[in-house]
Amino acid sequence: MDGLDIEIKEKTIHSVIGPNGAGKTTFFNCITGFYKPEAGEILLENHSLVGLMPDRIVRLGIARTYQNIRLFPDLTAIENVLVGMHAHLKSSYLGIILNTPFVKKEEQEAEAEANRLLKFVNLETKANMLSKHLPYGDQRRLEIARALATRPKLLCLDEPTAGMNSGETQAMCDFIQSLRDDLGITIMLIEHQMRVVMGISEIITVLDYGKKLAEGTPDEIKRNPKVIEAYLGQGSAAQAH
């Protein structure tokens, strides 16, 4: 990545698109602390995130999902969500062993919230299934529920509609929109499918070879010749005009 400058406004759905190898996932990994940028700054509400460990960054309010779903396969659906809540629970080691009233109450509340989140993603009947046995679409939604359990301000979704047919894709788009509308979470989306991105984003950033190629509303992006060229190859730009 090189000279990338992106600003994500609160409560927007902001998409990052680009051809394969454009650096979209690398960009995600920098934000969430898995890679450390060689130079430059990443700011969340004016706090620098550079050099922080991933677990610190989650606590500050950035959660993510993965392109190739990465749930905890041998934990049940509800356990997956409860793990997401880890950072907000305060039970201590001794407290757990003595099962103090505080721990009891906290566990009950956590379970209630986990169930609420599962209900939000329509998985309340499958709470006790191992996550590896859930169907593909359910796994996607469970991963989002787990990310929501960390109570994020910014939710980074890495190709949430990968491998879905058009009906499922539409359902996922509606779901993403409801996340923003109902929960007020800022969403950053990496996507491959143009149709998805155009439908739900307010702002789109186009990356190519780690550089920002263009940025704007879906309409602006659609008409931008540089984008068309990068996406559809040289020569196609002329046809599109």
């Binding site: 677990d55 905890f72 793990v83 880890h86 757990i96 906290e106 006790n128 191992l130």
Partner: protein, 555 residues
Amino acid sequence: MEQIRAIWRYGIKVGIIGGIVLILTALIGMIEVFTQRQIIADVVSMGHALYLAAGLFICYLAAERTTPAKPLWIISNSMFAGLTTAFFLVLLIILGRHVNLRLMFINASDLLLNNLLTFGVQGNDGLRLLLIAGMGVGLFTGLFYLLPKFLRTVILWSLAGSAFAGVLQELIRPILANNFPDVISEWLLTSDGLTLKGALSIFIFIALIVISWSIKGGGIRQGWQGLPKKQQSTWRTIGTIILLAVILIAPWRLGLFMSEVMTIVGLYVLLGLGLNIVVGYAGLLDLGYVAFFAIGAYVTALITSPEIMNLNWSFWSAIPFAIFFGILAGVLLGVPVLKMRGDYLAIATMGFGEIIRLLVLSDALRPFLGGSQGIGQIAKPQVLGFVFKGPQEIYYLIVAGCMLVIFVSWRLKDSRIGRAWKAMREDEDVAQAMGINLVSNKLLAFGTGAGFAALSGVIFGSKIGSIYPHSFNIMVSINIVCLIIFGGIGSIPGVIVGAAALIGLPELLREFAEYRFLVYGIALVVMMLIRPEGLWPEEAHKRELHEDKTNEATG
């Protein structure tokens, strides 16, 4: 012609493998050593049981593999497998007559080749008998395979039960002698092995249980689920109380030898539960776990023994120190290996275990740790003048320790910390991305596991009275890992079952200690093939299976 060749194929293939396996079993001396113990007095010895069981298993495999599964094909295949296996043994015996096999295979004695393998008949008649027996076993197995599944289950359970009773007579004898009238014991047991009528009655008894369970079992389970929650919990409490009572009176009812075995199993349960937290919950493969056991034992020795430091403190005052140093060592080991995963972690921890052993063994540290002479005169626990000296008293200490450790494991398991451990086990990167601090949670796991091991070390040291470096070799670590895998990784009852099976059984079969690790290896491989989740797996899996069934029922 094509068809006939196809019939032979399965049987001969399996038979060749079976023949090689049986030849090896015979040549390493297993059959001969096992004949020393009778299962049914003067009828079947353990060696012959092993020999026959292997034959049955081979023929069963052949029968199972036969396609298409027509009755005639199955029987003929099974017989071919038996015949081929017997043929290999005949070759071995003939070879043994002309060549001195003992130059290479020390166990290939004349007794083995010309008596045991041929059921006591000598000369060429023996060879003929062996071939006929092979076919006979094949015929029997083929017919057995054709029985309805229900009958097969009943027969298998009953056979296995009788064989088990014969193998574990050392366990049964004191139970019968101490608790039941002599008539029963005389009916069932001779001084060496079961009586024939005893074996038959056990066979019938188990068959009746299996049959009635399969008729009534489903009803009982449904009835149990139909009970109101409150009644269920009352019954559970009653069950727990009975179990506790049995555990508490056990050493006095079972006698000295069994108490000794139970204390050894108990120490391994303590160790297993500790390692279960590190390996089972947090997924950190630690092969140097014995080091913490050693630290617990050595701290106790240094504090309570008049040798070396001459502090002479009591056993009880040693416990907090030992556990403290154990946890400290766990955390100190944890720091350098934080970034390691999988194989690298296993090797690094293994090195740590060896370092501790070599340190206590070294001459340089001899004035402080006793070197190869070890440390003796470790204090026995005392309460108000009552001394825990024999295994029957130490047993209670171990039970108390196990209960404490089970309680702590159980509380941690489904807590915030337990979930963090399991998340790390499943996927470290994602766990971190969910806000889990890897450093502190890993150190917590290492520390907890080490603390449990140190507690076990304290009791161990006090129990045997003097400790030596060679008690803390790497085999202890390997044993613990094996018993965890065998019982079901991450499962608390699994650890107990695993310890009983892998530590308790070999103690009962002391005279066959030579083959302990061979049997271990086979048991683990078989386990991984037929039941990879372990004997008593973690609840989540069971819970889910249950869920599936109810979903099917409603959906």
